[in-house]
Every structure is written in structure tokens, then in C-alpha cells.
């Protein structure tokens, strides 16, 4: 299934729809859009969403931004559901300030994504496509 880029960003951004659940639980809430960010070590989730699913607090970390800003954060364990795929026991950052989900490399490195920027569509693939070189 192709997911249109989110045009609320300029330029439009590739997103995935995810559902959160406490580890081992069935996801209850709606699908949530998360911007895919290969520049982010981790995945950020607004704290209110983590509280709603009763995510488990597992530690602390320091977050470093590209402009030198730092922030102390808590880490939470959740199950993440993307389509039919379940990623169990994923560690995410609880974001106390932002209101958007940022899907970082701790998740992206487990997926095969096709980012079709020309058509502004993202596809989550089951296997690597056979691409012919020009």
C-alpha cells in the first residue's frame, strides 16, 4: 500500500502510519502518522501518547540536536504496529515538547522502504525489489 507524503511539511515528507501498544497488548488507538527521519538515532513519541497506551519507562538518555541543543529524556518500551507488521519491545523517546512522531533509525533499519519522491509516495515492502540499473 502506498502512503502519500505529508504535505503539511514543506517540502512534503515521507510518513508511515503506526499504532502504539503497551508491550504484549493489542493496539487500541487510531493509526498515527510519523515522519520518517534517517537522521535520527531514535524514535520520538509525544509523551501524552505514551501515557495513553501505558508505555513502560525503562531509562533515561540525553538527546543531542544538530544545532548543539541537548535535552534529558525518558525512554519507554512499546510495541509498534505498522500495517500487518508488529515490532515488539521497541525503545522510544518520550517527547515532552513536540507533538509529532519522528520515526528514527532504530525502527527504519528494520524495514524496507521505497521512498518515491517524484510521486510523493512511500511503500513499505516485504522484500527488496529487483531494480534494473539504467
Amino acid at each position: 500500500m502506498s502512503i502519500p507524503y505529508d504535505t503539511r511539511f514543506s517540502p512534503p515528507a515521507p510518513i508511515l502510519y503506526i499504532r502504539l501498544a503497551s508491550p504484549g497488548d493489542v493496539p487500541q488507538g487510531e493509526s498515527l502518522a510519523g515522519i520518517t527521519d534517517t537522521g535520527s538515532d531514535g524514535t520520538l513519541v509525544p509523551i501524552r501518547l505514551l501515557e495513553a497506551v501505558e508505555a513502560i519507562d525503562v531509562g533515561e538518555a540525553t538527546l543531542y540536536g544538530v544545532l548543539g541543543e541537548t535535552r534529558n529524556v525518558h525512554l519507554y518500551e512499546v510495541d509498534i504496529h505498522i500495517g500487518d507488521l508488529t515490532l515488539p519491545n521497541v525503545i522510544v523517546v518520550g517527547d515532552e515538547h513536540g507533538d509529532e512522531i519522528v520515526i528514527g533509525r532504530n525502527i527504519l533499519n528494520g524495514l524496507i522502504l521505497l521512498l518515491d519522491g517524484q510521486r510523493r509516495l512511500t511503500d513499505l515492502l516485504e522484500r527488496r525489489p529487483n531494480l534494473r540499473r539504467p
Binding site: S22, P23, D37, G39, S40, D41, G42, L44, L50, E51, A52, E54, I56, D57, V58, G59, E60, A61, T62, L63, Y64, G65, V66, L67, E69, R71, V73, H74, L75, E77, N89, V93, H97, G98, E100, V102, G104
Partner: protein
């Protein structure tokens, strides 16, 4: 359904609060309990972390190069593999908040974007 009897003023406070948010009393209590649990586990993790950081360096040294799991101010498990440690802890402690941390230094994450700064 189980019944819990609450005396005043708590019962009327709950009714008033629920009414002002347009919630059923049960919904209000459920939300409040969830919020309390969320804050409590954060306080627990903060306390476990402070305990670990205050531990004598020679005691921490025995876990060099490993991840440690800390529960109720004690190292309850450790492993070089964070994933293996996490699985054991979840199997043993269920959904209890147990601190899992690298034995040396603080965990660091980098975000190569400017979205960290609140607008």
C-alpha cells in the same frame, strides 16, 4: 461489577470533576490512575538512576562493558546484550518499570534535525 464505597468529600469532588470535564466518574478515575502510574514509574526510574550513579566506582566496575538492570536499588541482572537483558527483565518483572542502562556513562541519542527546538 465491583463496588467501592467512597465517603465525602472525595465522592462529591470526583463527581464535580467528572462533570466539569464531561466524563463519567469511572472514566475520570481510570485516567487519573493511568496518569498516576505513569508519573510513579518515572519517579522510580529517576530514583534507580540516582542510586546507580551514586554507587561506588569499584562496585560499578564489575559490570564494565555491560548493561545493567536496576530494580529497588539493586542490580538484578546484567548482560553484554541489551536485547537479551531486556527480554529476561520483561519475562521476570512484567510491566514493572526496571531501569536498564549502560554500565558506564549516560545513553546518548543524536537527532540530525532542528526539530528539537520548541518553536
Amino acid at each position: 461489577m465491583n463496588e467501592i464505597k467512597l465517603s465525602d468529600p472525595l465522592a462529591s469532588q470526583l463527581r464535580r470533576e467528572a462533570e466539569s470535564y464531561g466524563l463519567a466518574v469511572e472514566q475520570l478515575i481510570e485516567t487519573a490512575v493511568r496518569h498516576y502510574r505513569f508519573l510513579s514509574q518515572r519517579e522510580k526510574i529517576n530514583a534507580e538512576s540516582a542510586w546507580w550513579e551514586a554507587l561506588a566506582p569499584e562496585k560499578r566496575a564489575r559490570y564494565t562493558g555491560e548493561y545493567v538492570a536496576i530494580h529497588l536499588h539493586a542490580v538484578v541482572d546484567h548482560d553484554k546484550s541489551e536485547e537479551a537483558l531486556r527480554k529476561r527483565i520483561r519475562a521476570k518483572y512484567g510491566k514493572t518499570a526496571v531501569l536498564i542502562a549502560p554500565s558506564h556513562g549516560r545513553r546518548e541519542l543524536r537527532i540530525v534535525s532542528t526539530r528539537l527546538t520548541p518553536s
